[in-house]
């Protein structure tokens, strides 16, 4: 059974003056444990697709089932709770809270889920250890390099043992060496934890590392490859 099933998904941005059709009747299925790369030129709708599939953004039309549940049919609170428990997010610009240390950033999703502080901290440290940043746990984002920050983001995205990890240009702000390191880390985790990864990227080198590549053009899937 597909863990993600999107059917005839439309997303239109209405800016008042013009309407931008970002997704135009897109269909997609992702199997559990898959690691797929969503590729395509700027403005083709990659990030929009990720946002719509993860429930961060609303659909204009269509349906998205995650583990068979219509995520867009949920109200905001259950949808948020679902995200907190089942999903992890990695963003291009890291999106760490600048006022928190690495470990505090990582433990935040656990605290949101109601975990006790001590337990959350232990788990967060474990996650940081997993991404090789144990020595940096008490540093704030501003004191770390881009690669390190992205590793913290990865640790944060995995700390709650999510079913699906959404990664939007996870290497977009990194140099080649760091990019490959981060990607290898994601692959390793995918292999180890059998978690599903949806990675939005425009970097073919990154795409190549994924099992499946979806290429988008103007809001629809233009091509699909398997590695």
């Amino acid at each position: 059974m597909a863990i993600i099933k999107a059917t005839n998904v439309y997303k239109t941005y209405d800016t008042g003056k013009i309407q931008v059709k970002a997704l135009r009747g897109l269909d997609l299925e992702v199997q559990k444990g898959d690691m797929i790369a969503v590729m395509g030129p700027s403005g083709c709708g990659k990030t929009t697709l990720l946002n719509c599939l993860s429930g961060l953004d609303d659909l204009t039309d269509g349906k998205v089932l995650i583990e068979g549940q219509d995520i867009h049919a949920m109200k905001d609170n259950p949808r948020t709770e679902y995200r907190a428990k089942k999903m992890g997010f990695i963003f291009q610009s890291f999106n760490l809270l600048p006022v928190l240390t690495a470990v505090e950033n990582v433990e935040l999703p656990l605290l949101v889920s109601g975990m006790k502080t001590k337990e959350a901290k232990q788990k967060a440290e474990k996650a940081l250890d997993l991404v090789g940043l144990m020595d940096w746990k008490d540093h704030k984002p501003s004191e770390m390099s881009g690669g390190q920050q992205q590793r913290v983001t990865i640790a944060r995205s995995l700390v709650n043992d999510p079913t699906i990890v959404w990664a939007d240009e996870p290497t977009g702000n990194l140099d080649t060496k760091n990019s490959l390191e981060v990607m290898d880390l994601l692959l390793e985790l995918n292999k180890k934890n059998k978690q599903t990864f949806v990675v939005v990227t425009h970097d073919p080198a990154i795409g190549k590392k994924c099992k499946r590549i979806i290429e988008m053009r103007s809001g629809v899937i233009a091509k699909e490859f398997s590695n």
């Binding site: 946002n51 995200r83 006022v99």
Partner: protein, 1198 residues
């Protein structure tokens, strides 16, 4: 335009020119600034709202000033009308000051010359006196009505004009008619046609210095309405009776005498004042020229071919005034005889009437040679009284002030040849002849004084005739005389009053400005915060701009352009908003005054008034403050690392202080030391309170080189707080004044700074504590973490916000505490100020009580009065004091430089000493165990005195105890007093007590007998305690009615004190309300910060939403953050406020026995209002933010 406005206009023009020039040469940067300004309209509005409040406070203070000046000025114009200057002098009559009468010929002479001047359009002779009036129809009266005599012919021809604007003049009154103003008519419920009885003092034909009390009935012929009298002769807005001048002169038995000259300058009643300085000198010269020997009451006449100079009015004159005659007589070898007639009242204890002891001395060797201490009786008198040659007699004589002297003299019988030389009219009133010196003693009672004479007779001249001598001496004397001899002065009445009005208004405006200072400081902090925030938010843009080639100075300019736009709009809006605040304050003022019965609704109107100059000044100051702050903030924020800015990475903190930081620490220390040195030179403790914290802070900045910033700043904060609140007092501070506004402002600012340093650099302790306490809930852990981490991460911004809000709460707390302590002082003050008495009564001293006791009261009063104490009054001057120990001051000035002030010498009876309830602030506790013992000591020792509370305070009735360390007299001070009548009745008094009241102003209280017997005191005052349940106001009126002829005026003491207390309390509440405007700064500040936080953190909100933050959690996070800052600020503000409040209590209230009051309810209300208002400001943006779909928030780029 005054100098301030001119300088400010100049400054504003300079600013505009600089900005315009920069804008023209940096068009693209200006365009960017303009775009930023208009980019987010809501934000711009909020920023402007925050920036404008300081300007609004300045503007409102100036509007209050304008209104008050206008109100006072209008009052002056209303009172004085066309009168710009006045000529009058005063005379002391026993214990009160009166306008001295002088000859109308002085007016004739002055008027003739002055009316020729183009600047003067009216000179008028006036009598301004008073009397008691009683309406026989309504049985209502006024004990002290003004009696104004005007010369209609002069009024008609000069600018003074008519009385009612309708051609009414007093010459239309018949001899038995009067015109009254409506104020008086209302008081005695009088209508036209009513018959009234006037009691007044007329000149005694038998005793030129005496007064006979007369009564006469008049019919009210005209009532002149107040509004018609506006700008007319509604002089001082008193209750006035108008007469034609000669009617009043006849009534007073003073033909051709007046006691005032009115002068009107050209222009109407507003414009005239401008010419006062031009004409003042001319008027004075004319006045000096007009005065001749006849005005002294001196005249030459011939007697048996001899030239005699004598007094035509008082019977005696200072011998010094005969100086020219004596000189001329000496030059022509003439014989001179000087004589003095002293009225005798008893001879060997037998009363005698109409006989005088005549003292003579002559340079004629063949004249009578009279032994010292002897009296040469006229034979006929000796026979009548059975006095024999060689015996001794005891004679009591009395001078014009009524002071008696007893003298024992050896008796001789005057040889008949000498008696035969006396003119019959002299012989008829002479008891006997004594030596001239002896007669001086009999007049003055042994005290040194000016030599007086009744006549000086010159005979046997060489070279000149008597007429020639008379003419030349008269000419010399006239030339020599100036207005001081008559004590006449030119009073610049209107300009002085207008000046006082301006000072009064200025003072009130300044008071508001000082109280608003905290809000203005908070406003400056807010401006810095706003700009730092704007820069944070635009950091990446700025980095980008720098990357593409924009220099740091361009960024500064961009911010200055944008800031100037905010500053201009905010200054305009603020200045106009200040109009509204000003109106609200005036409205509240008017309401407070009108709600007090005694002032009445009609009599206390404060018409709202402002000048555009004030609005412009407020605009300019507001603009200037904002502009300077913006330049400072812009320079600071433009220094950025391009890459860190683009990537929004915070600037790293230097691990240890760099040289630059150390230098800045040294500069702070130097500034601090400079301020401390100012404290030494000015003795204003406020500078110390600013200087010391700066020194501490400066050293901490330097210490940062060796220790962590946290340790350095925490230590600085703690030491500052210790110095502010700890028991630190150095001996060199003893004389410093810590009660001024500078102390209040600086202690507030720096204690808040100390507290903020401690809190901000130890925030982790606070944070952990809060998390332990509140972080137990499932969802609250994450929310609390983010909510507290944000403010604690940006310590500068949070510190500024906390400081701004805490400062305002601090001020409001202190004022609320003072107001409560003052209010709770009420009952105690009532008792202290009234001495337990209900009514105080004061008579016209010319008509004192004769035998006022409980038993002699009319029966209807006897039933209501429980106790009555009659006090004697006289006027004295302090001429010397114990210089080594005492810095005696009159109204705060050393006595050496102060004008001679008059003090009331109040004589009290034994029963008053025993029964009065006036407590003593201090007394000689070593000698007297209790306050009562100190009071009773006055009876045993007539060289002891107790002084009133105002000797230590300023002037007037002051509410609150005078500060005990004020440099006035204190226990053990020796003061030397003398009478005002020139009789040199001096006496040294030792102060053994200081009263804890200020109802009797400038009073020196001693034993009654001394006041009456030695200082001519009369029983002109009483205090009465009523039986319980009696209405003090009603009984007071009944007293007035019964003693109307004495001109008795009574006051319900407790009523007056209550009025003053409630007025003072209400004004404190008004101040509290005014400071509430500062709360708006704080609330607006926190609102702006919350709004900006939401915008700044949109992306992060998106991320939080993505990882599982629900909408409500986002909102909660912001609300907790705001609450954290607000509650912490309220807490700090209140704690520090209570700390300063405690010091104020110790210095100003503890001694008066009031308990320390913390107005919790009041503070709670203020805190809750402030807290809720800030939450409201936060809820809207945070709700809005939480509603944005996470994807959109993540996408958000400004």
């Amino acid at each position: 335009m005054d100098t301030t406005s001119f300088c400010l206009s100049f400054l504003v023009v300079i600013i505009i020119v600089i900005i315009a020039a920069l804008a023209l040469t940096n068009r693209i940067i200006f365009k960017m600034a303009l775009r930023n300004f208009t980019r987010r309209k809501v934000q711009s509005v909020i920023v402007i709202a925050g920036l404008m409040i300081g300007t609004a406070i300045i503007s409102s203070s100036l509007v209050v000033r304008d209104t008050m000046i206008n109100t006072f000025e209008v009052d002056v114009y209303r009172s004085l009308g066309e009168v710009d200057e006045e000529i009058w002098g005063t005379e002391t009559w026993t214990n009160a000051l009166y306008y001295k009468y002088f000859s109308e010929s002085i007016y004739d002479s002055i008027s003739r010359n002055l009316t020729k001047l183009p600047e003067i359009d009216g000179v008028a002779p006036v009598i301004d006196d008073n009397g008691a009036v009683f309406n026989l129809n309504t049985m209502l009266g006024e004990p002290s009505a003004a009696l104004l005599g005007l010369d209609s012919s002069v009024m008609r021809e000069s600018s003074f004009g008519d009385l009612d604007g309708n051609g009414y003049y007093t010459d239309s009154l018949a001899e038995d008619e009067i015109a009254i103003n409506s104020r008086l008519a209302e008081d005695m419920d009088a209508s036209v046609g009513d018959e009234v009885q006037l009691s007044y003092g007329a000149k005694d034909p038998d005793n030129p210095m005496g007064t006979s009390f007369m009564k006469k009935n008049f019919t009210v012929a005209k009532i002149i309405l107040e509004e018609d009298l506006y700008g007319k002769a509604n002089y001082n807005q008193r209750k006035t009776i108008f007469f034609e001048l000669d009617t009043l002169q006849n009534l007073f038995n003073r033909p051709r005498e007046i006691n005032k000259i009115w002068i009107s300058n050209k222009g109407d009643y507003r414009e005239g004042e401008k010419y006062t300085s031009d004409v003042n000198q001319t008027i004075k010269e004319e006045l000096d020229n007009a005065i001749g020997i006849s005005d002294l009451g001196l005249d030459f006449h011939s007697f048996d071919g001899n030239l005699v100079l004598s007094s035509t009015t008082t019977g005696i004159f200072p011998l010094q005034q005969a100086g020219h005659l004596l000189e001329a007589a000496k030059n022509s070898n003439a014989t001179v005889m000087k004589g003095l007639m002293v009225p005798a009242i008893t001879l060997n204890n037998l009363p005698i009437f109409g006989l005088n002891v005549m003292g003579v001395v002559s340079n004629d060797p063949v004249g009578p040679q009279i032994e010292d201490n002897s009296i040469y009786f006229l034979e006929s008198v000796a026979t009548t009284y059975g006095i024999t040659n060689g015996s001794s007699v005891e004679i009591v004589t009395m001078n014009l002030e009524g002071i008696q002297t007893q003298t024992e003299l050896q008796v001789f019988i005057l040889p008949t040849e000498f008696e035969g030389m006396m003119p019959d009219e002299i012989r008829a009133v002479t008891l006997g002849v004594v030596d001239f010196d002896t007669s001086q003693y009999m007049l003055h009672g042994g005290a040194y004084s000016e030599l007086m004479a009744s006549f000086v007779m010159v005979s046997g001249l060489d070279n000149v005739t008597m007429d020639q001598l008379k003419d030349s001496v008269t000419e010399e004397m006239n030339e020599d005389l100036d207005s001081t001899i008559l004590n006449l002065e030119v009073h610049e009445l209107k300009s002085d009053n207008v000046e006082a009005a301006r000072e009064g208004g200025e003072g009130l405006g300044t008071l508001f400005m000082i109280f608003g200072m905290f809000s203005i400081i908070a406003g400056v902090v807010l401006i810095i915060n706003i700009f730092v925030m704007l820069s944070e938010e635009r950091k990446s843009e700025m980095g980008m701009a720098r990357a593409v080639g924009m220099k740091g100075k361009h960024l500064v300019r961009m911010y200055i352009f944008e800031g100037s736009l905010y500053a201009f709009v905010a200054a305009i809006v603020g200045a106009l908003l200040g109009l509204f605040f000003g109106w609200a304050i005036i409205y509240a003022f008017e309401y407070i005054f009108q709600s007090i019965e005694e002032f009445g609704e009609e009599s206390f109107n404060i018409p709202f008034y402002f000048t555009w100059t004030s609005i412009f000044v407020a605009f300019s100051i507001g603009l200037f403050i904002t502009f300077i702050t913006i330049i400072f903030a812009s320079t600071r924020i433009s220094k950025l690392n391009i890459i860190r800015a683009i990537r929004r990475i915070p600037e790293p903190r230097p691990p240890r202080a760099k040289k630059r930081v150390i230098y800045s620490g040294i500069i702070v220390v130097i500034i601090g030391l400079f301020l401390i040195s100012m404290a030494f030179s000015t003795e204003d403790g406020g500078y110390y309170l600013a200087g010391l914290p700066l020194v501490i802070l400066g050293f901490s900045i330097i210490a940062h080189k060796w220790v962590s910033i946290r340790a350095a700043m925490t230590a600085a904060g703690l030491v500052i707080l210790f110095f502010m609140f700890g028991p630190i007092e150095f001996s060199f501070m003893e004389d410093w004044d810590f009660s001024g506004m500078t102390s209040f402002v600086f202690s507030g600012v720096f204690s808040v700074l100390g507290a903020i340093l401690v809190v901000m650099f130890n925030s982790n302790i606070l944070l952990n504590g809060l998390q332990k306490i509140f972080g137990r809930g499932k969802s609250t852990r994450a929310v609390l973490k983010t909510a507290i981490s944000y403010p604690m991460d940006n310590k500068f911004k949070t510190g500024m916000t906390l400081g701004m809000f805490a400062l305002i709460i601090f001020t409001v707390t202190v004022i609320a505490m003072i107001a409560s302590m003052q209010a709770s002082q009420g009952d105690m003050m009532l008792e202290q100020q009234s001495g337990g008495y209900d009514i105080i009564g004061v008579t016209n001293p010319r008509t004192p009580f004769e035998n006022l006791t409980l038993e002699t009261l009319p029966p209807e009063l006897q039933n209501k009065v429980d106790q009555i104490e009659v006090l004697s009054q006289s006027i004295v001057t302090i001429i010397d004091y114990d210089r080594e120990e005492v810095h005696i001051t009159t109204y705060g000035q050393p006595i050496d430089t102060a004008k001679i002030e008059q003090y009331q010498l109040i004589g009290v009876s034994e029963s008053f000493m025993e029964n009065n309830g006036y407590s003593l602030l201090e007394w000689d506790e070593e000698r007297y165990e209790t306050e009562r013992d100190a009071w009773n000591a006055l009876d045993d020792n007539s060289s002891l005195c107790i002084v009133d509370g105002t000797k230590l305070a300023f002037s007037g009735i002051s509410v609150g105890s005078p500060p005990p360390d004020f440099g006035g007299v204190y226990i053990g001070s020796k003061i030397v007093i003398t009478d005002m009548g020139g009789q040199n009745r001096t006496r040294e008094l030792e102060v053994i007590g200081i009263m804890d009241q200020s109802f009797f102003i400038n009073a020196i209280i001693i034993k009654k007998d001394v006041v009456k017997n030695e200082y001519g005191g009369v029983d002109s005052m009483f205090v009465a305690k009523l039986k319980s349940g009696e209405d003090a106001d009603a009984v007071a009126k009944e007293f007035e009615k019964n003693y109307l002829e004495h001109g008795l005026q009574t006051f319900d003491m407790k009523g007056i004190i209550n009025t003053i207390l409630s007025l003072s309390n209400n004004i404190m509440y008004l101040m509290e309300g005014f400071l509430g405007i500062g709360l708006l700064v704080g609330i607006a500040g926190i609102g702006i910060i919350s709004y900006r936080n939401v915008i700044e953190r949109r992306q992060q909100i998106g991320m939080l939403r993505a990882i599982g933050f629900k909408k409500s959690m986002v909102t909660k996070s912001f609300l907790i953050e705001t609450s954290f800052i607000t509650i912490l600020a309220i807490f700090l503000g209140i704690i520090l406020g209570i700390g300063i409040g405690w010091q104020i209590y110790k210095d100003g209230f503890q001694d008066s026995g009031v308990g320390f009051v913390i107005p919790w309810a009041n503070l709670l209300i203020i805190s809750v209002i402030a807290y809720i208002a800030t939450l409201i400001f936060t809820i809207y943006p945070s709700l809005k933010a939480s509603k944005i779909p996470p994807a959109e928030a993540l996408r958000y780029i400004e």
